[in-house]
């Protein structure tokens, strides 16, 4: 029988997300997928599984969950309060979820998008090659209480690992490459753009993030006369009021507002995760520097599997300590620790 994940309660913006649906730009559909794709990779690393598997994305608020079979989960992205039958669970870690136990995930403490991964992935039917909800395109619906989601088959990995991600919840400097319309902004405007401190606005979702600022509006020289042109994720669109909007996973495929540049893909998780009010600045980098930054970030993501560490449990937390066999693992203090028994 297929294992299921039951949602007993759900925050207002839970959706199934994976790496999205590439290949449909000519039909007006952007790729979509997880707002913080690094969090997907981290969950996959913690569970030792393929990063293309689907997880539950939770914007701002989690929910309560139960599995019909023993399984293992991982929690990544925005740090949320999490409990298993009342006992606190560490974030950025994997945990055993016994059948029938109640996993409760509360509000985001730092960041915006938290992720609940499950061994085998969420196994809803593929729709146009992916499972990701794409709200602006009308694909999928927000997850609500009472939903039962099929869990993919596969070996159950070991639980009890954690990783320590670099901070991506606190804003900071976003690296930007010049793009097809950057030259429509004069050098003075580009310079002012780099010197201005921006704050993430309340108006932020999976389509776009508005950046607020106290400076004069940023304007293109021919802002209203631009023919509608392709948009890519990370584009910084200057809207009619002169404020930048960073276009995110569910943005439209084309648009008529000028774009001053494009945020590097590896910096987009920081845009997605910051809470409202978090400060950002922009800095133009050369294409060559951008390449180096992206390749470095990708190598780091690929190496996540080697960055996970076992959780060390406090013996006081182990209720049935006396049932553990503690002696047989003792080693001879005089032995060379780098020579393993059984080596030829």
């Amino acid at each position: 029988m297929t294992a299921e994940l039951i949602l007993h309660s759900a925050g207002p913006a839970l959706s199934i997300q994976d790496q999205g649906r590439p290949g449909h730009l000519a039909s007006g559909l952007t790729r979509g997928g997880a707002a913080d794709c690094l969090a997907l990779a981290e969950g996959a690393a913690l569970l030792g599984q393929d990063p293309s598997l689907a997880a539950i994305e939770m914007m701002g608020m989690g929910g309560s969950f139960e599995s019909t079979q023993d399984t293992v989960i991982a929690l990544t992205g925005a740090t949320m309060s999490a409990q298993l039958d009342g006992a606190a669970l560490r974030w950025n870690a994997s945990h055993l979820l016994p059948a029938g136990a109640r996993l409760t995930i509360g509000g985001a403490v730092t960041g915006t998008y938290g992720y609940l991964h499950i061994a085998g992935g969420i196994d809803t039917p593929l729709q146009m090659g992916a499972r990701a909800g794409h709200g602006s395109a009308g694909i999928g619906t927000p997850l609500v209480a009472g939903t039962r989601l099929p869990i993919g088959a596969g070996p159950t990995p070991a639980a009890g690992y954690f990783l320590t991600p670099d901070d991506r919840m606190s804003g900071g400097e976003l690296r930007v490459v010049r793009s097809a319309q950057t030259a429509q902004f004069d050098a003075q405007t580009q310079g002012r753009f780099e010197r201005t401190a921006f704050h993430k606005d309340m108006r932020a979702n999976r389509m776009a993030v508005r950046m607020d600022h106290g400076a004069a509006p940023f304007q293109a020289q021919n802002g209203l006369g631009i023919v509608s042109e392709v948009i890519v994720t990370g584009d910084i669109q200057i809207a009619g009021d002169g404020a930048p909007f960073i276009l995110m996973a569910e943005c439209q495929t084309t648009g008529g507002y000028p774009r001053i540049g494009t945020v590097l893909p590896s910096d987009l998780p920081r845009v997605a995760q910051a809470q409202a009010g978090t400060q950002f600045t922009f800095r133009f980098v050369s294409l060559q520097d951008a390449k180096d930054i992206e390749l470095c970030a990708r190598a780091k993501t690929r190496a996540l599997g080697g960055a996970i560490r076992p959780l060390v449990r406090n013996p006081g937390d182990i209720a049935d300590l006396l049932s553990y066999q503690l002696i047989s693992g003792a080693v001879d203090a005089r032995a060379d620790p780098f020579t393993q028994k059984g080596d030829p």
Partner: protein
């Protein structure tokens, strides 16, 4: 043609080849033909291609490819022929989409007709015989921007937004038509209503139209569109499709 095509990088996502600084039929045709030619090259670095009104976008991972090499290939392809004189690519369709003009289902026909200098009957005669091309698809999945209508249809967008027009609505501004994918606010005028669904996420072919397809919107009675809406299971809303040579 005084505009010379330009190649530019777009983010880290790919290279954009632009054939004009404003919409024109030759620039749109050049973009469609150039995209088809890029697809025919089979370059392994290219993950996807698309067109907007006057440009072709070639997606390739700029962090991984040699950008100068890709730009050189595109420049060579650009120089290989006059793209503004190129024929449209093969594999396109001609659609006839039954449409009711005016009535309560499309309440802005009379207003738009007046702006186009016509009485409603003359406007319906002109609109229902116009043959338009899908210039690009965007804003919503599968949603076509079609043109160009005769010059008297160069209507500005209305100042206020219509709060919501339904999916299948035929709306117009700036010599173009759009069939709406889903209910949405708009500044364009709602002149016709079809039972055509541009995006069918559960179908094996989710997108009905492709850039370069051509469409005619023959006038049918209001009752016919209501009947099609109620009975059609395919999404075609009674439309006929024929392959263009």
């Amino acid at each position: 043609m005084t505009f010379s095509p330009k190649i530019a990088t777009v983010g880290m996502a790919g290279l954009l080849v632009t054939f004009g600084d404003k919409l024109s039929e030759p620039a749109n045709r050049a973009a469609l033909a150039f995209r088809a030619a890029v697809n025919a090259q089979g370059w392994k670095e290219v993950s996807e291609t698309t067109t907007s009104l006057v440009s072709a976008f070639v997606l390739c991972d700029l962090a991984a490819v040699d950008i100068d090499v890709m730009q050189g290939r595109l420049a060579d392809l650009l120089a290989s022929r006059d793209w503004y004189a190129a024929p449209l690519p093969a594999g396109r369709s001609l659609w006839h989409v039954p449409t009711v003009y005016g009535t309560d289902l499309a309440p802005q026909l009379e207003e738009a007709a007046a702006l186009a200098g016509l009485d409603p009957d003359a406007a319906i005669a002109q609109l229902s015989s116009a043959r338009v091309r899908v210039l690009t698809i965007g804003f919503a999945p599968g949603q076509p921007y079609m043109g160009e209508l005769p010059a008297n249809w160069d209507l500005p967008r209305q100042e206020g937004l219509t709060r919501s027009v339904p999916g299948g609505a035929l709306i117009t501004a700036i010599r173009q038509l759009i069939i709406f994918t889903a209910a949405s606010p708009t500044g364009w005028r709602h002149i016709g209503q079809t039972a055509f669904r541009t995006f069918r996420p559960d179908a094996s072919a989710p997108f009905a139209l492709a850039p370069g397809d051509e469409l005619i919107f023959p006038s049918v009675p209001r009752a016919e569109v209501l009947r099609l809406r109620a009975s059609d299971q395919t999404g075609d809303g009674g439309a006929d499709r024929e392959a263009l040579p």
